[in-house]
Symmetry: C2
Subunit: 278 residues, 2 copies
């Protein structure tokens, strides 16, 4: 199967409408229809059920959609990494969530810098979903936090495990407690969870304020507008007006270093080795 056919298939599968898919691909609808038919014939598999007015995915089509997206993504990532590899100065791009423990990060960067063959580390901060740059090739490696970030498809090593704290306005009654339970902080009536944008930029439904970054989040908490449960290490990010209270029954957060499974980068192998020895 050629990449062009896979792109056509994924577009139709996502739109479930040949006309919109054709427009998205920048071609006319008839060649798209023909290409999909030829693909189905060559595979010997029906990927879509369709009448003249309705298109749905078959089971085979559903499975291929997930794998097709991953493959196209991997191809884009591979092209990006190939381009990046030609740079005179080899670097590693490390993707991480804004607010990730400065202490862990500093230790990692210092320890790696002490390696004889260390290359420059370029930090790529993400306000959310730090795994995405790993998927699309903009990053070589990422610090991720389970269970929040998906590590599907990547190789990982565990770096640390920690509890979670509820970050509350210092004026809130719960802020004086030695610890709280998840049920107590999960749905505070006056402190609804803030909302992050999805990959397509739209926000999920909810009463909480829309935010773009960690700074906005902390500011809103300070203003008594929201609260959040974060890993213990985020305590270093707290400032006046904010209080962190341990959440006894919150799941532990595991910080892992993740990388694409087929990487052959020596520099990356060194970084992973150093990271697991911290």
């Amino acid at each position: 199967m050629e990449t062009r056919e896979l792109r056509y298939f994924v577009a139709v599968a996502e739109e479930l409408h040949f006309g919109r898919a054709a427009e998205r691909l920048g071609i006319a609808q008839p060649p798209l229809s023909r290409t999909i038919s030829q693909l189905e014939q060559r595979l010997g598999v029906a990927l879509f059920n369709r009448t003249s007015r309705k298109v749905t995915l078959t089971a085979a089509g559903s499975g291929l959609l997930a794998e097709g997206r991953a493959i196209l993504g991997a191809l884009t990532a591979a092209e990006r990494r190939a381009r990046h590899a030609t740079m005179d100065q080899p670097t590693l791009v490390l993707s991480l969530k804004t607010g990730t423990s400065g202490e862990l990060l500093a230790k990692l960067l210092d320890a790696y810098a002490a390696e004889p063959d260390a290359v420059a580390i370029e930090l790529l901060f993400c306000e959310s979903q730090p795994d995405r740059p790993l998927h699309d090739g903009r990053a070589d490696v990422a610090l991720l936090h389970q269970p929040f970030d998906t590590t599907d498809g990547f190789d990982i090593e565990v770096l640390s495990t920690e509890g979670q704290i509820a970050i509350l306005p210092s004026s809130h009654p719960l802020a004086t407690r030695p610890h709280v339970l998840m049920a107590e902080v999960k749905s505070l009536p006056q402190l609804p969870p803030a909302r992050w944008p999805g990959p397509d930029g739209t926000y999920p439904e909810g009463p909480g304020a829309e935010i773009h970054n960690q700074m906005q989040l902390l500011q809103l908490i300070e203003l008594g507008r929201t609260s959040v449960v974060l890993p213990e290490s985020c305590r270093t990010n707290l400032r006046e007006g904010l209080t962190g209270v341990p959440v006894k029954d919150a799941p532990t957060v595991t910080t892992v270093i993740a990388w694409p499974p087929h990487s052959r980068s020596r520099a990356l192998a060194d970084l992973v080795r150093v990271a697991t020895r911290l």
Copy 2:
């Protein structure tokens, strides 16, 4: 990048000779040369260094080779799984090493069969490298054993952990010991390790006999020609004339269930859930 270009690139990268690569691809050398040049121009990246008599990979080319192989493999696997998904009777193909603990397998299959939406499980026995069918799409899921089998690129859940035993001819002096050390069984002069074929069918160098399957291995041990260190659960496979002796300092073997990270199969999710509850 089209699949055709990636296939051309991988062929040249593996052969480091345009003529041989062209022959392998079934095309003439000039269009191959031109296609690679055009690819490099479009990517803005040199993938090969070449004189008129020598071809080597650049750093970018080396990185792309590993990722390119994985992508082409994933594409082949995706096509296969799409074809398999059209079967009237949905099944899951489970890849596993011949000799995998019958006890664990039976428990898994029984527990899964009790699930309301269980589908038929088709067992795909491998004499070695049970991860390969997962890579190439012939299997949906696999039982693998770390550290012997690579789980790179797959999602996994741990099922069990066990020690290892040295399987020796019962007549061997070490067979009467309560336990042995790795150094004692790793290089027995009269019992050199048997040799498995590689993916391309050729055997690595070594004094041990060439074997194709587990039965041959056990038979050779019984004949006093070799020995092997295997997980504790293989004890059930021992028959008269063979003795299993615990190897105190052997690394533990972790049995995991592995699957492709982008699978959306409901049946597979059920199997994994059942497996982790054994």
